[in-house]
């Protein structure tokens, strides 16, 4: 009888485990969209000079990761603001990286030259990185702290003031 009892407990425990997992999963967010508090997925992308860079290179200092394309009007619009803020805060340790949305290199170069962007631009290919980040809208900007944790995600164009406020809180927390 004792043996039966322990078998009974084992079965119930197993079912609680499997069932609890199944039910718990239904609460979990579906899909792979990033949220504040997550760590962004790693990437290895080429810059305009053809050299590869990884996300890990930027660890240790606050980072603004901006996904943009020349085909997206709000992306073009916010570029000067990003550039201005990059210049204003780069001495404090702020890094800004623009990831282009899988366009041809010459297209990106022409645009960068015309606008006068000096922060590093990386080139996504085949939309791989964009998919890994689960991007829904362009532009999307990730504010990542020195520990590599996403603090804020903003979809849509940013003004100088909007960037500034967020940069300050990133730098303060560092």
């Amino acid at each position: 009888m004792r043996r039966h009892k322990s078998v009974q407990y084992l079965i119930l425990a197993l079912m609680l485990l499997v069932g609890g997992y199944a039910v718990g999963r239904s609460f979990a967010s579906s899909g792979d969209v990033l949220r504040p508090g997550d760590k962004p997925p790693s990437f290895r992308l080429a810059d305009l000079q053809g050299e590869a860079h990884t996300l890990e290179e930027y660890a240790g200092n606050p980072l603004i990761l901006n996904f943009w394309g020349t085909f997206c009007p709000p992306c073009r619009e916010e570029m000067p603001a990003l550039q201005q803020q990059y210049e204003a805060w780069k001495d404090e340790g702020l890094q800004v990286v623009g990831i282009n949305l899988s366009e041809d290199r010459h297209r990106v170069e022409n645009f960068i030259r015309r606008i006068g962007v000096s922060f590093p631009i990386l080139l996504d290919t085949n939309r791989r990185t964009e998919r890994a980040f689960g991007l829904r809208e362009y532009p999307t900007t990730y504010f990542i702290d020195a520990n590599g944790v996403i603090r804020q995600i903003v979809s849509g164009p940013l003004t100088i003031e909007e960037i500034e406020g967020r940069v300050k809180s990133l730098l303060e927390s560092a």
Binding site: L12, M15, R25, F27, F71, R76
Partner: protein, 554 residues
């Protein structure tokens, strides 16, 4: 209350036993006093969960072991599922940006309430999953609780049964017989053996039985269902077991399948229509789609797969004409024809460079719309690609921009260098599509350069274009073999449990009086006819209907 569970035959029964495990006598005094037909469920055995002092864990166990609870779970699941079909589920849409608004605007207040209650996501909701889990628990515990006692009861059957047990079966015959009791029993045993019964005798008592395996049918069904449910659950748990992605391909385009090292290329999408011969009279002359086909080639990346600075090295691994009902399949990866969209796009052109000053033409040269090379040598000239716009347009400042990444209205900025031209070359904007050339005024933009050069396609043979974008659904579903195994086990259980039935016949002869009782879990008619036929062979003519125990009461 502790009842005496010791039977008069001397057998000690577990608490909760209805019919003595040995002789079959009803143990409950009230039951023993009546003469109703005996309820033979689980052969009157005590179920595992029937215990005198249940603790909380026992109570949980008892809850799930109850068929009443199981039926309630089924009914609640059924009702919930029905509610889930009132309006379309959110999962039915590929691109639903604002579900709340969608339900409110299309279905009014009821729709808004439906969405607010979470019914628009019924089948992914925690409470529906909970119901499924509870059904799973019920399947496991109900089965365990019954199958073991039933197994014991059926493997330890005693031949000689209590008289009350025999005369209170569904099918009963009581009557006098002539001659020696044991000889009669032996003869009857012979008759039943010929009807494929397994017969055991004990003096003038007999037990004949057939198709016992059908009693395991319900438990086999339940095992199958558990395997099925677990397989479905596992798909979501084990990484790499399940993937559901979509790839849109123009003719000739190659795309990486997201999250894999595979690339797929479309060699062309085709729609076939029924010919007039195949159409009935009233539809002749109409276009009716017969089949969609994407000629696809699957590549595997073998080197530089994650290296953004180099082109990946690809190796062809499979090719298939993907049709509806005929996916491409490679190592668990399946590509299905999912959808298509009419999106006429250029793939590449082979234009000719015309030097208007001399009338000479050079070329043609190959110009792909996606990822064009940076230099082209055409006759004595060199064309350097300075910029390209997949979908040409002008921004608010009148600057040229691209409106998307798709080559819907491609434009290329070349710098032409060569004999008789300035060192820095002559810039030239080229629209491969005649319509764009007119719309944006190519010659006007090029100004003086347009006087010197023309770049144009000479014939349709120099144009490669795609009419449709084919959408493929890419799936990995490594749980499927287990899902099918579960379904197959369930079917086997159903067939053995329902199309066969367990039949048992008991008899004993006391002082020249034959008492015969027979029981089956299904198809009383068949059993009745079989018993009547066997009795007839033994010289006792009786109408099959008169064997029915219930009929005797009236």
């Amino acid at each position: 209350m502790i009842r005496n569970t010791k039977c008069e035959c001397g057998h000690q029964n577990p608490v909760g036993t209805v019919l003595c495990e040995a002789c079959g006598k009803p143990l409950d005094e009230e039951l023993a006093a009546s003469d109703s037909v005996l309820e033979m469920r689980y052969d009157g055995m005590a179920r595992r969960s029937q215990k005198p002092h249940p603790n909380p864990v026992d109570r949980v166990w008892n809850f799930f072991s109850s068929v009443r609870v199981a039926v309630w779970l089924i009914v609640i699941t059924l009702a919930a599922a029905a509610l889930g079909t009132v309006f379309p589920q959110e999962s039915a849409f590929v691109n639903l940006t604002d579900p709340a608004a969608y339900y409110r605007e299309n279905y009014g207040t009821i729709g808004a309430v439906y969405h607010a209650l979470g019914l628009s996501r019924t089948f992914e909701s925690w409470w529906f999953i909970t119901l499924m889990v509870m059904i799973g628990a019920s399947l496991v515990i109900c089965s365990l609780d019954r199958v073991l006692p039933l197994y014991r009861a059926l493997t330890r059957q005693q031949v000689r049964k209590h008289l009350q047990f025999i005369t209170r079966q569904q099918v009963v015959y009581v009557g006098p017989i002539q001659g020696d009791a044991e000889a009669w029993t032996a003869r009857f045993a012979e008759i039943l053996s010929r009807k494929r019964y397994k017969v055991r005798t004990d003096g003038n008592a007999l037990l004949a039985e057939k198709n016992r395996f059908s009693r395991w049918g319900p438990y086999v069904i339940h095992i199958g269902l558990i395997v099925f449910l677990l397989a479905v659950l596992m798909r979501g748990v084990i990484p790499g077991w399940y993937m559901d992605e979509y790839v849109g391909l123009d003719d000739g385009e190659i795309e990486q399948i997201p999250r894999t090292g595979y690339f797929v290329k479309s060699l062309g999408f085709r729609i076939d229509f029924y010919s007039d011969d195949e159409l009935p009279e009233h539809l002749k002359g109409q276009l009716r789609v017969k089949q969609f086909t994407t000629k696809a080639v699957l590549y595997e990346c073998v080197a530089y797969c994650d290296d953004a600075t180099r082109e990946p090295e690809l190796k062809e691994v499979a090719a298939h004409d993907i049709r509806v009902n005929s996916p491409l399949s490679y190592r668990g990866l399946r590509l299905y024809q999912y959808d298509f969209a009419e999106a006429p796009r250029l793939i590449s052109v082979r234009p000719t460079l015309v030097d208007k000053r001399t009338g000479q033409s050079y070329g043609p040269f190959e110009l792909p719309m996606r990822h064009p090379p940076l230099t082209y040598s055409v006759g004595p000239f060199t064309l350097e690609l300075r910029d390209s716009f997949p979908e040409f347009g002008l921004d608010e400042n009148g600057e040229p921009v691209t409106l998307s990444r798709e080559p819907n209205a491609p434009a290329f900025v070349f710098v032409i260098k060569g004999p008789g031209l300035p060192e820095e070359g002559v810039p030239y904007l080229y629209f491969p599509r005649e319509a764009d050339r007119q719309r944006f005024g190519q010659d006007r933009i090029n100004g003086a350069a347009a006087e010197m050069f023309d770049i144009r396609v000479m014939s349709m043979e120099d144009v490669e274009f795609s009419t449709y974008t084919s959408y493929l659904n890419v799936r990995v579903d490594r749980g499927m073999p287990y899902v099918w195994t579960g379904a197959a086990i369930t079917m086997i259980g159903l067939v053995m449990g329902i199309y066969w039935n367990h039949r048992r016949i008991w008899l004993r002869i006391d002082d020249g009086v034959l008492s015969l009782g027979a029981h089956t879990n299904k198809n009383r008619f068949g059993l009745r006819a079989e018993v009547a036929a066997a009795l007839a062979k033994a010289g006792i003519e009786v109408d099959a209907k008169m064997l029915d125990n219930r009929r005797k009461e009236s």
